[in-house]
């Protein structure tokens, strides 16, 4: 059970405090309710580029990292299609340094030309390193626009085109900040061995004077219902054919979310899962196969991906895959099988809740979902899932009319 307190400042900032008497460290985690889904289609990759600029100095402090390192701390951040999350971990006695730094960049950035120029280049190299220079690295750049036609999930957080990053101007950057970075769009979580009253005083001191800004109205295009199977084949210089079946699934806040997560575990989490056993161990069609969900806030994807064994065709795989997916839609999952999956989920949850940083990040995320208390209810939601739930949701979700298939065809390197 994760215990925490919650309070709100006048400017709209939500603060969560999690007292932990066992650690000499403090965590300051800040989640901003902005991600790649908030970008316009002509300027993609901005939420992530912006995350880089958040380290390029704020209105009163020329550099973010140095003072935090001087305090013995470290920090990092990540951007997803839904959120941008920043964290600082430092010795508890120096917590005020993190609050000083984080509150100043919530107030405003320095916006220097040098920082923009350098971070543009860094992000372009990141684009190359992660997406262009890795075998299968560009798969999500292809799969997203296949699965989504209107919703901004059709582009990846890195952006849909390197040119969008190359052409980013200072005005673009400033207006992005104004629109998306304000106290009421943030959730702050502080963890460590402190008293609540001290945390309240410190938050008021550092964050209280940040003026409220209007929360920009979110206007995200709704994805039209997909009514037919989509398929695309791309050819790449890779050693093995690869496949990605992406089924549309419910939003993160839908009650069936947990059931679909369990369903994806049943079909492809580990070496006991149905697709691994049938398609790999029994039929030798694939060298690897797994299933997972994207976990996004808006309608997400349940993805089945893997690589074909040498000499196997996409058609052979497709036939057998459909047979296996049919089974889970027509007969109830066995009690042992369901227990196995739920036991694994229980272990994962225990490990997720251990460690001060993980807990702080999760608390912020659940608060964004509606209530940080959800962190303590999730395992129970999983443990209450029945075989009938899985059957019902499998029928609804594993529908090939709402599926998009990306095939990566290996072509010879000519070496």
């Amino acid at each position: 059970m994760v215990q925490f307190d919650r309070f709100k400042l006048n400017n709209g900032l939500t603060v969560l405090f999690q007292k932990d008497t066992t650690t000499p460290l403090a965590v300051v985690n800040t989640l901003y309710d902005v991600g790649a889904r908030d970008e316009s289609e002509e300027k993609t990759g901005f939420a992530h580029l912006f995350e880089h600029l958040m380290f390029g100095g704020s209105v009163n402090i020329p550099e973010f990292d140095t003072p935090l390192q001087l305090a013995g701390g470290e920090n990092n951040a990540f951007t997803s299609n839904d959120i941008t999350n920043y964290y600082d971990v430092l010795p508890a006695q120096n917590i005020e340094t993190a609050l000083w730094l984080e509150s100043d960049r919530m107030l405003s950035l320095a916006f220097t030309e040098k920082s923009l120029e350098v971070q543009r280049n860094v992000v372009i190299e990141e684009f190359k390193q992660r997406y262009l220079n890795q075998p299968y690295g560009d798969v999500w750049l292809e799969l997203r626009p296949l699965a989504y036609k209107a919703h901004p999930y059709k582009w990846a957080t890195i952006g849909k085109d390197i040119a969008h990053i190359e052409n980013a101007t200072m005005d673009d950057v400033k207006s992005f900040f104004k629109k998306h970075y304000c106290p009421s769009k943030a959730v702050l979580c502080i963890s460590g061995n402190f008293d609540l009253e001290r945390i309240k005083t410190l938050c008021e001191k550092w964050y209280g004077s940040i003026p409220p800004r209007n929360k920009a109205k979110r206007n995200i295009l709704k994805e039209p219902v997909q009514n037919s199977f989509r398929e695309k084949t791309i050819e790449r210089h890779v050693p093995a054919d690869a496949f990605y079946y992406a089924f549309k699934m419910v939003r993160r806040d839908h009650p069936d979310y947990f059931v679909i997560d369990t369903l994806s575990d049943a079909i492809g989490r580990d070496k006991s899962s149905r697709l691994y056993v049938a398609l790999k161990k029994q039929q030798n069609l694939v060298s690897s196969i797994s299933a997972f969900i994207t976990g996004s806030l808006d309608e997400g994807l349940l993805v089945i991906s893997g690589k074909l064994s040498a000499g196997i065709s996409f058609e052979q795989l497709d036939r057998s895959l459909r047979v296996e997916l049919e089974k889970i839609q027509t007969s109830l999952i066995e009690k042992d099988e369901l227990n196995r999956i739920l036991n694994k989920i229980r272990t994962s949850k225990e490990f997720q809740d251990q460690g001060i940083l993980n807990r702080a990040m999760n608390l912020c995320f659940y608060e964004l979902l509606g209530d940080a208390k959800l962190i303590n209810l999730e395992n129970e939601k999983y443990q209450n899932i029945t075989a009938n739930d899985v059957l019902r949701v499998a029928k609804k979700t594993l529908n090939f009319n709402s599926c998009s298939l990306l095939k990566v065809k290996a072509i010879n390197n000519g070496k």
């Binding site: 000499p24 701390g73 860094v122 390193q129 050693p239 161990k281 694994k344 272990t347």
Partner: protein
């Protein structure tokens, strides 16, 4: 109004509480280490074997490591996985140059059952033909994928030069390894390096001592009878080589040399400070120059990697393919600066505080504390070495840092390998 222009007052970390695990004797040379102080239901165990990559050639150690749960004459791989997954366990196997480690993450209530399942599977693995063939086919495909990664190509090339005098350390997987492996080779290796090769056992979790004693007892007959003897000297060959990969948009760069490990206590601890300044944190000289000033890369870092008897220094990065020479020049410049100029008090203060904060973090919680302990134990040290590290960080001088850079970071001593 709050004053945002002057930073809050700082207090440096001056002491860290280190907690040793409890020791249970398995045999003369083999110990079980148990960290009981876990406040929740999580638990982990690790078994270390003398079965690292250097223990045989042609990929045999990697293959055996990957096949440990592939089935015995009594129980199939499917049933083994089912038993582990049914208990909510997460199994992991990993191999380094000198060790093989298998790990289980689970709830404490299941640790005994899972331990017995894994031990039985690992000790009685029978290398069933079908399992071996499937495994090798998968690994062959994975190897082909790895060969498409410039980071992997650079690593292999670098390793050859770094361990130039020792075939067991320098060799990397070849395509023919996947064709020529026989069941006999696997069985022989397993018999020697697993059935008589257990080096230590680690348990983290709130488990009673009776359970731990049972685990220790069950390990007795696979304990290694004599201490492992690893090569004391590995010799690198200063060189500059490259491998071409058509169509790559980035080039991977590796620069480094053989150095030392914790056994060379004072130089090791002081060099770690030099290494941090050069390339081991976000504010390091290399990151500041090559990423944050020039924008050549997404990341660049340096580290000191420890082996049983020695260690090596390595700088690694991936840069735009047209930026290789500029990057190497800048790396060389940054090293030269450290050799010529004494570090400012300001920067040294920053690195001191940062390193002490990191050590505090690396000692936070039972899992981190156990990892810290094992990192000392590997080299015959106790946790006390970290108190010495604190003193080294507090007391090092700019002159000493400069002298270490002069002694150990000469550009002409480096192995340089690029792939792209």
């Amino acid at each position: 109004m709050v004053n945002r222009l002057s930073p809050p007052k700082l207090k440096r970390v001056d002491r860290i509480e280190f907690v040793s695990p409890k020791k249970y004797r398995i045999s003369n040379h083999v110990t079980l280490y148990h960290m009981k102080e876990v406040a929740n239901e999580t638990a982990r165990f690790d078994l270390y074997f003398d079965a690292g990559k250097n223990a045989a050639s042609n990929g045999i150690p990697e293959f055996v490591n990957g096949l440990l749960l592939s089935g015995t004459k009594d129980i199939t791989s499917f049933k083994i996985n089912d038993a582990i997954n049914g208990m909510g366990g997460f199994y992991n196997s990993g191999i380094s140059m000198e060790n093989s480690v298998i790990s289980m993450f689970c709830l404490r209530e299941n640790i005994s059952t899972l331990f017995n399942t894994v031990l039985d599977a690992v000790c009685n693995v029978s290398f069933i033909k079908k399992e071996v063939e499937e495994f090798l086919a998968d690994r062959k495909q994975q190897h082909a994928i790895n060969l498409e990664k410039v980071g992997y190509l650079a690593h292999c090339g670098f390793q050859k030069k770094l361990f130039s005098n020792n075939e067991a350390y320098s060799s990397t997987l070849k395509a023919s390894d996947f064709e020529n492996t026989t069941a006999e080779q696997l069985i022989d290796f397993h018999a020697k390096h697993y059935l008589q090769g257990l080096l230590k056992v680690v348990v983290v979790g709130n488990v009673d001592s009776a359970t731990i004693q049972k685990i220790a007892a069950a390990c007795q007959n696979i304990a290694k009878a004599e201490p492992v003897i690893s090569p004391k000297t590995l010799i690198h060959l200063p060189s500059r080589e490259s491998k071409t990969k058509k169509d790559a948009v980035q080039t991977a760069i590796r620069v480094g040399r053989i150095l030392f490990n914790k056994k060379n206590e004072q130089d090791y601890m002081d060099f770690l400070i030099l290494n941090t300044i050069l390339g081991d944190y976000f504010g390091s000289r290399l990151m500041k120059n090559i990423r944050e000033d020039k924008g050549y890369t997404y990341g660049i870092g340096s580290s000191l990697v420890e082996l049983q008897e020695t260690g090596y220094f390595i700088i690694a990065t991936e840069v735009g393919k047209e930026l290789v020479e500029q990057t190497l020049n800048e790396i060389q410049n940054e090293i030269a600066k450290l050799q010529q100029d004494k570090i400012s008090n300001e920067e040294l203060e920053l690195v001191r505080n940062f390193m002490l904060g990191q050590l505090l973090k690396n000692a936070d919680g039972p899992y981190a504390m156990m990892d810290l302990f094992i990192s000392a134990e590997m080299h015959g040290k106790e946790l006390a070495i970290y108190n010495k590290a604190i003193l080294a960080i507090q007391n090092i001088t700019p002159e000493r840092i400069r002298d270490l850079a002069r002694k150990y970071l000469n550009w002409n001593d480096m192995c340089i390998f690029t792939a792209g």
